[in-house]
Each structure stands twice: as C-alpha cells, then as structure tokens.
Symmetry: D2
Subunit: 132 residues, 4 copies
Amino acid sequence: MFEYETGVKLQDTDAAGLVFFANHFKIAHAVYEAFMESIGCGLHLIIRESAYLLPIVHAEADYKAALSLGDALTISVTADVGKTSFTLSYDFKDGQGEMAARVRTVHVAVDKETGEKITLPDEVREGFLRIS
Amino acid sequence: MFEYETGVKLQDTDAAGLVFFANHFKIAHAVYEAFMESIGCGLHLIIRESAYLLPIVHAEADYKAALSLGDALTISVTADVGKTSFTLSYDFKDGQGEMAARVRTVHVAVDKETGEKITLPDEVREGFLRIS
Amino acid sequence: MFEYETGVKLQDTDAAGLVFFANHFKIAHAVYEAFMESIGCGLHLIIRESAYLLPIVHAEADYKAALSLGDALTISVTADVGKTSFTLSYDFKDGQGEMAARVRTVHVAVDKETGEKITLPDEVREGFLRIS
Amino acid sequence: MFEYETGVKLQDTDAAGLVFFANHFKIAHAVYEAFMESIGCGLHLIIRESAYLLPIVHAEADYKAALSLGDALTISVTADVGKTSFTLSYDFKDGQGEMAARVRTVHVAVDKETGEKITLPDEVREGFLRIS
C-alpha cells in the first residue's frame, strides 16, 4: 500500500460546494505520479525516454461521502498486477477516516512505436508488486 | 438521444499529447449541463432554487481511441431512468465517426435538506425519458 | 473583433460559488483557439506542423464582476500586433452586457527549433490584423 | 517569505509538452491556500464562517522559462499589504533554481453581506506582515 496525504483545494471544488466529480480522478492521478516517482518510474521518464507507455483504458469512481474545501484527505493505493496490465485502487479517506470515494484505474502496457500491448516492463511490475 | 458538438482544446490535453483521462469526465459534464438546460432544468436552477440535488454516485469511462488537440468530437447521450436514479451514457465519437470513449455517470435524486434519496422529480424524469 | 458565446459551467466555478479566477484564463484560451482555427492557424497545426510556436509570455486579468454558474458569457477579442509579438484583449460580458472581466495575453513568435524570437509569420499577422 | 515545494504534474501540462499558462495561477492559488492555513485563516473558514471575503481583483503572470512534467518547483511568496488590499508575489523556481515564472495576485477585503471594501481584518494583516 502506498499512502499520500493531501487536502481539498478551492480548485477541486465547484459551486455545489463540494469536490467536482472529475477532480477525484485528477487527485488520484497525482497520487499515481507520486507512486511512480517513488519506484523510479517517474512519468516524465516514461513519456520522454522509455519504449513503452501505460495508458489508462478504464477509470471509475464510487462517491460515498461529500468532500469539502479544507478537508484532509488520505489516499491509499493498492495494485492488482496482470501480465500486460495493472489495476490501481485508490481509497480516499477524509480527516475522520471515513471512506469518501474509491477510484480505480486500469492501465495497459503498450509499445510506444506500435501501440501494441506488451508484457509489463519488469521495473513497473516489481514496483506494483510492492503494493499488491 | 441528445447530441453535442465540440472539439479537443489545449486545456483538455497533457504532455503525452492526448486528452488527459480525467478531462473526458469534464467534457461529459459540460454535455450534461447543456442537456439539463435544454429541458429547463439548468444546474444553476437546481443548485440555487430547487429542493433536490442530483449528485453523481458513480462515474466510469472506457478509453478506446486517443483524442488529440483539434480533433472534432460528437458526443451523444442516452439515459436509463430509474425510480430514484438515472444513468447517462456518453458516446464520444471523433471526426471520423470512430468511438473514442464511452463515459457513464450514475446520479441519484436526494432531498437538499436531508440528503435522503427521493423519487426523481417529474421535470427531470420527463426530460430524461426523451433520450431513453 | 472576434466574438465567442459560451456560458459558465460547473467546472469553471468553485466553492465560493463563482468562477475560479484561473478559469478566466482557460476560457480565454478556448476563445483564442477558436479564433486561430477561424483564420486557418489551428493550434494543432502550429504545434504539430509549423516551424514556429506562439508561447504566452505574459497574461493578466482584471476581475470586475462576479460570474456565476449558468451565466451567459460573450467574449470579444481584439489584437494589438507587433513585429515579433501580439497582445490579445478579451472582454468578458455577462448576460446583461456588463463587463465581468478583462483578460490580456501577450504572445511572442519563436522558432520551434532554436526558441529564438522571429518575425510574426504572415498568416498569423494577417489573421490578427482583421481584429486589430 | 513563505516557501512551498511541489512538482509539475501531468494535469498541469498540455500537448505542447509544458505547463499550460493558466495552471500557473492554479498552482499559485494552492500555495496561497497553504499559506492562509499556516496563519490560521484557512479559506474554508473564511468562506464558511467569516464576515469577509478576499476576492482576487487582478492576477498576472510573467512566463520566463518553460516548465515540464516532473520538474521540481519551489514557490516563494511575499506580500505587500495595504489598508483594504494586499498583493502576493509568487516566484516559481525550477529544480536548477532558475526563475521560471512570476505570478502576482491582488486581493481586496470585502464585507460578505454588502460586498463593500473593508479594512483588512487584523488576523489577515498580521499574517501577511510576516511575509512582507
């Protein structure tokens, strides 16, 4: 499990006073980037220098409790690793430890040139196995 | 079916050169707002003046083909209407008519004061039945 | 003068109930993209195919009246064209015709390879002279 | 001076490969929120509980060097405090300590009910004097 602490910012919210539903995905992706950095696979390296990409083919979120400006957020990520893909589950807990939302993203490994599915690169697989 | 024409803007894209996955949800919501306006239930009216809200409890997207800056987008929406909830399906087609993504959002009707589930208001139900 | 009609979307607003100040710049840029498209210089063409770029070196906004969810917006753009740069002024008027905000962006033409300032390409200069 | 460390995220960038110009303002505002929190004036408290608001009446940015995905960012903020307003200057330095951008925001204190300008509340003035 990888944990990430943040808080709800004004730019995450909308005129209904709560976090706009699409922004849970933005926040989740920031956590993903922090995790990838932590395993030496920063996205800037992948996008600029690697022979593969890890595009998201599916994303979903269940919204369980409202999140408001200033709320503390602890997001914990776990991975389910396949041969050519992996699924990340992000649990969003608020300052009281209540589950506010669960986000899932499914990524596949593809060859940067051909776009064809490839076996998950070792460095990525090993990184995700740490949080499986 | 409700149709909405737009195009991919720079602010929708990221450094991988394509539409950032969370932005499909932002675009879908803009379509939802346009539809709600078209049936006389503009979100500004609901948020400010009605006795109910229609929060999103689930959202998901399947990404099928990359969308790039300047691509034309035609988004068509259909509804599946329940007693206290409705599901909207958004098909994103690019300029060649190819399916680029499918987004779904599930909304429930709740009482603005109590937060309790309520029967879908008639004006909303009737609006969605037009695109069922 | 180039005119663009839009409306305030939920994603433009924040928990204070109004358009988040940074989003005026996002909206202005959407107008810029629509204008560039209209003169045959769509940004996707510039970014992918041209020998130049038109980066923004300065941006500013004066906020004069609050903009709320559902407000109609008419944005009119005028250009001030220099030798290697141009300045765009965007007037945001709400549904009552009241000035809500004025945004300005200053762009320079640079060689895509060297990053050096270049004379404004003819196609761009001529396009902007139409709205000077 | 108040300092804030962050990094460029994928959601900050666009298809030109760099931070989208409007996102410098979003990042600056996140720094502002962190500072306000640090002086006990969290924006959620101001928006929900205080008798005043601190709307932005002017914002501007000078873009000096490109910021790319994964770049480290150190943002330092200083304040210039007036009777009814304050100006914040945000210096964005990249991982090499090079100035990448300078953002300025001008805020006024207004009465939440009447919208009239008021003298800057003591708690806010004192907080900003620490970074003047």
